[in-house]
């Protein structure tokens, strides 16, 4: 499914909740990105209908809202896994073996980078530097940074939870 198809799909979401979230941003300037952050925090991603409601409430065209949301790499239009694994592929991690780390996660989780497992347990993605270059190569699992040494343990733990 392409990105456009994803956001055009009708989905059941709590539209009142979206209105509540964006209410404080009405009649204010420069708040769209903040509103999108808040919506994503609530739903885990940006459902198409939530974007439509936000556009309506904040007096934007839907195209503008989608345009802004799609510009930034950390806004997502599809549901994401319960656990988000982000492999750092910054320069320092790259020279210290990030490609191999990514390969290993891809193999362990059975998905490619930027993909989510079918059971919505895991999302695997890459990130260009999390500022922990001193420990390279690192991976970020649910917002916690792990050194290479600790990564097998984390995978094992997550897989344990999976079954």
């Amino acid at each position: 499914m392409t990105e456009i198809e994803t956001i055009e799909k009708e989905e059941k979401i709590d539209s009142e909740r979206v209105r509540e979230i964006v209410a404080k941003y009405r009649h204010r300037e420069g708040v769209l990105v903040d509103a999108l952050h808040d919506i994503q925090r609530e739903f885990g991603y940006l459902p198409g209908d939530a974007l439509r409601i936000a556009a309506e409430e904040l007096n934007f065209t839907f195209a503008h809202v989608y345009g802004v949301a799609s510009f930034y790499s950390q806004f997502y239009f599809t549901p994401r896994g319960k656990n988000v694994v982000r492999v750092c592929v910054g320069t320092a991690c790259h020279v210290r073996g990030a490609p191999a780390v990514l390969d290993q996660f891809e193999e362990e989780l059975g998905v490619k980078a930027e993909e989510t497992t079918e059971d919505l347990k895991f999302t695997l993605e890459t990130v260009s530097c999390v500022g922990c270059c001193g420990l390279a190569p690192v991976a970020v699992v649910n917002d916690q940074v792990f050194k290479k040494k600790d990564q097998p343990k984390v995978i094992a733990r997550l897989k344990g939870e999976q079954s």
């Binding site: 300037e29 420069g30 708040v31 769209l32 990105v33 903040d34 999108l36 952050h37 345009g67 802004v68 510009f71 930034y72 790499s73 950390q74 806004f75 592929v89 910054g90 320069t91 320092a92 991690c93 790259h94 020279v95 210290r96 191999a100 990130v127 260009s128 530097c129 999390v130 500022g131 922990c132 270059c133 001193g134 420990l135 390279a136 690192v138 917002d143 916690q144 940074v145 792990f146 050194k147």
Partner: protein, 618 residues
């Protein structure tokens, strides 16, 4: 706590805090709790200390600090008054440390730094080679105070410069001081800060804005994160002084990357503390000057580090740069005159006010004054943050601070300035670093990320890596960057896949120079730098890839063939086990790789304990 109503009240508060501290004479345990140390388990360590202190009812102050610098060996713990710098302290080690060191005052050697050359144990960090020659201006408080307490900051002189400025300096005097200090923007291009403030001040208009750029997008740089996490009050203080100097600014923004959640948390806390004490908001320190700061979170776009793009992002739009001029000091955020400074620039401001413009101008080289923070990463033995005077040579940074190359391999290049910078080879190691010298070498100060590379890194692959990054992050507004980098990446991809053609190097150079001349924003201008600088210094590697279909470093897997050196082979069979296509053939007392079956995945090369599998020209 009541709001402070004057500079005097702040001074009284500071004196009281210092006195209380002296009278309490409490031992201090300072646990580094920045993102890198947390990754190494610092929160558990800190928790274990807290538990021990509580259980035993000890009168000890436990302080969670920001980065203490030596990220490679975390969790780091500083113990006072014994003056000890412990490394790799896990929660498991805490009871022992409490018993031996804190209660009985004994040093435990295994947590201390041992000089690998002399075997000498160094108890205190300032005597270690990594710290010895550092000079702290920007990182003056980082790792030395609690990252979450405004009182700790005030105790060491936080907001002192602000009080001085508001009570006894005019805006012109502040600008004059900054101009005389010759402070230049630490974000990359090095524009003189005082001049920027002055030209914004001279603009007409009752509404102006100030932005602090904390969108440290360069992979390989983490100093802004460390400052925002570890010493947010110095950034806030610098912003208030800047707003006062420029005038007509009542609203400032700090733009922080989405990838730095801890920085946002600590900043939010710092802002609310400053407001509570009357150091931020309405009528700061009773001076009649009012200023507010709002945090703007990024959402993952490298290009937002460019000033005009950042302004669009703050306005809630797609973060795309626009053509300059008009410069943002004339027409910036919402069309109003705007000053945009980097985190490190703003952090330097208070130090300059406190210690004088002449002091700052006496440090550094002729055209670049003061210090710069570098993040040493990659293949150096010691990785972490250092702050050194401008003019320090690259060799000193790599060998004295960085401790040389990991596994004693051979140095190949150092990449400075991230995707806008370039690779500098060995023959220029003795270049003193400043803004101009780096630009003339085809690199850039950038944000100060410094990635060390050794003989096992392929420069063509590194160039491809950066271009891939730039191509993905290109905002797509101007064709030179959008289309040009796409074509350059295409050419580099075919070179590393062994399909390089005659004339590819020249084509890369020509497209690269074209992009430099025509791209719309600063990031586009510098986008070809990683490729052009590697061609400039490592042309032979490109040639080997194209003409000989061979990667001298053995990184590009599609190139070259693998061979087992029989004389050195231990016959362990690991290469045979790891090979997925059964290309490693076992015969009586020998292994060999069948070149027709081998897919050149490189796994055997990586697994060989005796390093006797070679990559050779086919």
């Amino acid at each position: 706590m009541n709001r402070l109503r004057s500079a005097d009240e702040l001074r009284v508060l500071r004196e009281r805090l210092i006195l209380e501290d002296e009278e309490a004479k409490r031992p201090k345990i300072m646990a580094c709790c920045d993102t890198a140390c947390i990754a190494a388990g610092a929160l558990d360590t800190a928790q274990a200390f807290a538990q021990q202190i509580e259980e035993k009812g000890l009168n000890i102050e436990l302080i969670k600090t920001g980065s203490q610098g030596w990220c490679a060996n975390g969790p780091l713990v500083t113990i006072e008054p014994q003056h000890l710098f412990y490394q790799r302290v896990t929660a498991f080690d805490v009871p022992g440390i409490m018993d031996l060191t804190v209660s009985r005052g004994r040093e435990i050697d295994r947590f201390l730094y041992t000089n690998p050359d002399t075997g000498e144990v160094v108890p205190w960090r300032d005597d270690m080679p990594f710290y010895q020659k550092q000079m702290y201006i920007i990182l003056r408080n980082c790792g030395r105070i609690s990252a979450t307490s405004i009182y700790d900051s005030i105790k060491v002189g936080g907001y002192e410069a602000l009080a001085e400025v508001l009570s006894s300096m005019t805006s012109e005097e502040v600008i004059d001081t900054i101009k005389r200090s010759q402070l230049r923007g630490r974000g990359g291009a090095g524009f003189p800060t005082g001049v920027k403030w002055e030209s914004c001040r001279s603009q007409k208009g009752k509404v102006k804005y100030l932005i602090c750029n904390g969108d440290e997008g360069d992979p390989g740089a983490f100093m802004d994160r460390s400052v925002l996490e570890g010493d947010p009050h110095s950034v806030i203080e610098g912003m208030i002084i800047a707003a006062y100097a420029v005038g007509n600014i009542s609203q400032g923004f700090i733009y922080v990357r989405a990838e730095y959640p801890l920085a946002v948390t600590n900043l939010e806390l710092a802002l609310s503390q400053a407001e509570e004490l009357g150091l931020l908001g309405e009528n700061i320190l009773g001076s009649g000057f009012s200023f507010n700061i709002e945090i703007k979170r990024g959402a993952g776009a490298f290009v937002c580090g460019e000033s005009t793009a950042m302004m669009h992002a703050i306005e809630g739009k797609r973060g795309m740069p626009r053509q300059t001029p008009p410069r943002s000091v004339e027409t910036g955020l919402w069309g109003k005159p705007t000053v945009l400074n980097n985190v490190k620039t703003l952090t330097s401001v208070a130090a300059i006010i406190n210690r004088g413009a002449d002091w700052f101008a006496s440090i550094g080289t002729e055209n670049s004054k003061g210090t710069q923070v570098f993040a040493i990463a990659g293949k150096a033995k010691n990785t972490g943050l250092i702050e050194v005077p401008m003019g320090t040579t690259i060799r000193e940074i790599v060998y004295d601070f960085g401790g040389g190359i990991l596994d004693d391999k051979k140095f190949k290049a150092v990449q400075i300035g991230g995707p806008s910078g370039g690779c500098i080879p060995e023959e220029y190691l003795d270049t003193p670093i400043d803004f101009e010298s780096l630009t003339s070498l085809g690199a850039m100060m950038g944000s100060g990320g410094l990635v060390v590379m050794d003989e096992s890194d392929c420069m063509v692959d590194i160039a491809r890596f950066f271009l891939d990054f730039i191509q993905r992050e290109s905002c797509g507004k101007c064709p030179p960057c959008r289309v040009g980098t796409y074509h350059m990446l295409e050419i580099l991809n075919r070179i590393v896949e062994g399909k390089g053609r005659e004339g590819d190097i020249e084509l890369l150079e020509s497209i690269g120079n074209e992009i430099k001349a025509t791209a719309a924003c600063g990031l586009g201008d510098s986008a070809p730098n990683p490729v052009l600088s590697t061609i400039r210094y490592f042309r032979d590697e490109y040639e080997a890839h194209i003409h000989d279909k061979y990667c001298p470093s053995g990184v590009c897997k599609a190139l070259g063939g693998y061979r087992i050196v029989e004389e050195e082979c231990l016959l362990c069979g690991l290469c045979r086990d790891v090979c997925e296509v059964n290309a490693v053939v076992e015969e009586r007392k020998r292994f060999f790789i069948d070149p027709d079956v081998c897919e050149r995945c490189g796994k055997c090369h990586a697994v060989c304990p005796n390093e006797c599998i070679l990559v050779e020209r086919r």
